[in-house]
Structure formats: C-alpha cells, structure tokens
C-alpha cells in the first residue's frame, strides 16, 4: 500500500508529461505536420499534458484526444496557477530590484554580487583558450552530425 502511494506520487514524473496551457485557439493534429488530419479544434486556455517535441510540434494529451499542437502555442503551467503566480510572480522577482541573494536555497549560485566583486582568474582564462577549436575541426564535427550549412537571412 505504501509502495502504491509512492508510485502514485512519482507517476507524473515517470510519464514526463507536463501540464501546459494553450495561449490561443489551436488545431490538434494527428501528426506533427500542418497538412496532417485535424483531430480537434482546441480553444484558447485549454489545459493539456505536454510530451515530447518534434520540430515545431509538441505531442499533447487532451480531453478531446491525443495529437500534436504547435509548440509556440503552449505555455507550461496549469491555467489555475498562472493567474495568481506564474508570469506575474516572475515579473515581480525580476523587477523588485532586490538582489538575487534574497532568494536562497542554501547553495550559492552565480549571482550579481559575485560577478561584481570577482577577481580575474588568469589560470582559468588560459584553460579556456586551450579548449578552443579551429574552424576546420568544427566543420568536420558538423559533417559527422550530418549538419548542412544553410543560407538564411536575418529578419
């Protein structure tokens, strides 16, 4: 019984599904492609369970069925929570101007004060230089991953 309770607790983690919300009305597709069959028309603010991504598509489970939606139409977090906390709260942490050190979990990360007071570390800079690779090495590495350079203009 205890085991069942624990596995129930872990269940959402094991599924790797995350609660997400649609920020606009979106078509639920049978495959990750615009020309795939539309399974359902999902309304704005629909709650979904988001799974893996394939290109610009994310696989979701919804009350209207399973399928794929445009990833940019998704925001993570459940709709109930996003009202009071979520983005609003994120802004308040970002804009209060109080230093990052006020939020602590015991482990000190890399905060603004550390950056401002840091002394130069020449030995580390030397190490950094040593890790650099030349363009030719990088090009061979890209080829081994079957990456093909494209001509793309800036917007």
């Amino acid at each position: 019984m205890k085991h069942l309770f624990i596995s129930l607790l872990l269940f959402p983690l094991l599924c790797a599904a995350e609660p997400a919300t649609l920020i606009r009305s979106t078509e639920l597709k049978s495959e990750p492609a615009s020309d795939a069959t539309t399974v359902a028309q999902l309304a704005e603010n629909t709650a979904v369970d988001a799974r893996e991504r394939k290109g610009g598509w994310t696989r979701v489970k919804t009350k209207s069925g399973d399928g794929w939606v445009k990833m940019l139409a998704l925001r993570y977090g459940s709709p109930a929570k996003s009202g009071d906390s979520g983005i609003g709260r994120l802004f308040s942490t970002a804009r209060t101007g109080s230093s990052g050190t006020t939020v602590t979990t015991g482990v000190r990360g890399l905060d603004g004060d550390q950056i401002k007071t840091a002394q130069p570390n020449a030995a580390q800079l030397k190490k950094l230089h040593g890790y650099a690779v030349d363009a030719q090495t990088a090009s061979g590495f890209a080829a081994s991953g079957k990456l093909q350079a494209q001509k793309v203009d800036y917007p």
Binding site: K116, N121, L125, Y131, A135, A138, A142, A149
Partner: protein, 276 residues
C-alpha cells in the same frame, strides 16, 4: 679635440631631440583627446574589443570557474565554433566555456567568448537546444551589444581621453573602471531590445548551422516551465525579459522556424557527449 667636438654635438642633438620629443608626445595626445571629444562615441577597434573581452572573461571566470571536463568543453567549442563560422564575424578568436555553477545562465563577452553554465546545460535535451542558446549569445557578440553598453556605462566615469587610456594601458586605473562597468553590466543586464534581437539572430544562426531552428524556443519554453522562484534562475530572470515574453516575440520568426524546423536535433549525440 675633434672627438670632443663630436661628443658635444652628439649630446646637443640628443638634448634637442629630447626637448622636441616631449612636446611632440603631448601634441599627439592632445590630438587624440580632441578626436575623442569631437566624436561622441569612439569606435572601439576589433583588437581592443578582443583584449577587453579577455579581461572581462577572466573576471567572469573569477566568479565561476570552468567545469573540469576537457571532453565536455571541447564538445561545446565544436558546436559553437561551427555556428560562429556561419556568421559575419567568422574570424574572431571564438572560445566557449561551461561554467561550473548550478545557476541557469549564459553570457556573451566582447570579442568572441561565450559561457554557458552547467545548470543551463542540465536543462537541455538536444544539441539543437545547445546550438540555439549559443547562437543567441553569438548574436550579442555580432551586434557588439555588451561592448557598446560597457562603453556607454563607462563614459560617465571615464571622461575625455581616459577611455583611450583604458584601451591602451591594461594596467591603468581607467582600464579597471572600464572593466568594473563591465561587471556591473553582467549583474544588471542589457536592454530588453538587445535580448530580443539576439533571440531573432539566434534562431537564424542555428538554422544556418543546419540545426532544428526550434532549439532556442525549446530552451525558452523549458525556462518558462521552471519555478520562477528557483534561486538558480534569479540572475538570469533579473537580466532577461521573461521567457514567455521572449517566446511571444519569436512568433514573428515563424517563417524561418517552420522552414528550418525539421533539420537535425541531434539529441542522441548531445546525451552521449554529456555522459562521457
């Protein structure tokens, strides 16, 4: 007697030259200063940009050292160098480093130095996502966002020819002021418009490198899904627009994203390289 005459004239010429040299130097300096005052913003050349960048990188490394894992560091350098080769500044001395901190962040330093943190790498699922984040930082270097901001911030503290001195003399107090302005900037962040521009450039640069163009949006979506109160996000959220806002701004990039959205993600290679 002849020798004495020789010596005396030699000395005289020497004195005359010395007398001339000093005012000459001053004249040059005055001209330099006049040039500075005349030009509202002195254009910092590439050599100085690289030199300031190295000093700045040494300071950031003083705040968080590199992860002691040569294989990981070289992997990130290969991805980054390949992306940099697709840009308008392919010949900068590009170097990439993974900082040993659980904090989730990345930094671009003038002259071609890019840092990502171990904490940010841990949130990524594929090489395309790494490429997206590196490409965003490369975009900052291309547009000289930090260099311009450091210069602007330092100008209040470094009046007149002091900026010139800061560029020329690495041991000067002026140089220290310039670098301090840099540290301030990394703690405070760039203008929002610079960040959103780097996002757009990042999508394009990753696509040019042949990666799934959705890598950067995917990283932003992961950041958006994390608890905003997590202390490991504090500095990044303080210095960047909210991930949701950045994702919304990337909606404009839909045509590029869709066109290059089916290029390789290289998730397997990424996972294998991180496990090494």
């Amino acid at each position: 007697m002849r020798i004495l005459f020789f010596l005396v004239s030699f000395l005289l010429v020497g004195v005359a030259q010395a007398q001339f040299r000093l005012p000459n130097l001053d004249v040059n300096r005055i001209i330099d200063t006049a040039k500075n005052v005349g030009k509202a913003t002195l254009e910092i050349g590439e050599k100085d940009e690289i030199s300031i960048g190295n000093d700045m990188a040494a300071r950031l490394l003083g705040a968080a050292p590199l992860v002691d894992d040569p294989a990981l560091q070289q992997y990130v350098n290969r991805v980054g160098r390949w992306l940099a080769a697709q840009t308008e500044r392919p010949d900068l001395p590009w170097q990439f480093g993974v900082l040993d901190t659980a904090d989730v962040n990345a930094f671009a330093v003038p002259g071609g130095t890019i840092f990502v943190t171990r904490g940010l790498l841990a949130q990524m699922k594929s090489e395309a996502e790494l490429a997206g984040a590196l490409a965003h930082e490369i975009g900052h270097v291309l547009k000289k966002h930090h260099l311009k901001a450091i210069q602007k911030n330092a100008q209040a503290a470094l009046a007149g020819e002091a900026l010139n001195l800061a560029l020329k003399d690495q041991r000067s107090a002026a140089r220290d002021k310039l670098l301090s302005a840099g540290s301030e900037l990394y703690a405070r962040g760039l203008d929002k418009s610079d960040e959103l521009e780097a996002d757009r450039l990042g999508v394009v640069i990753a696509a040019r490198g042949g990666y799934d163009a959705y890598g950067l949006p995917a990283v932003l979506q992961t950041l958006q899904s994390m608890n905003a109160e997590d202390s490991s996000l504090a500095l990044m959220f303080k210095t960047h627009p909210a991930p949701a806002e950045r994702l919304e701004a990337l909606d404009k990039m839909q045509p590029t994203l869709e066109r290059y959205g089916s290029q390789p993600q290289l998730a397997e290679r990424f996972i294998a390289e991180l496990k090494k």
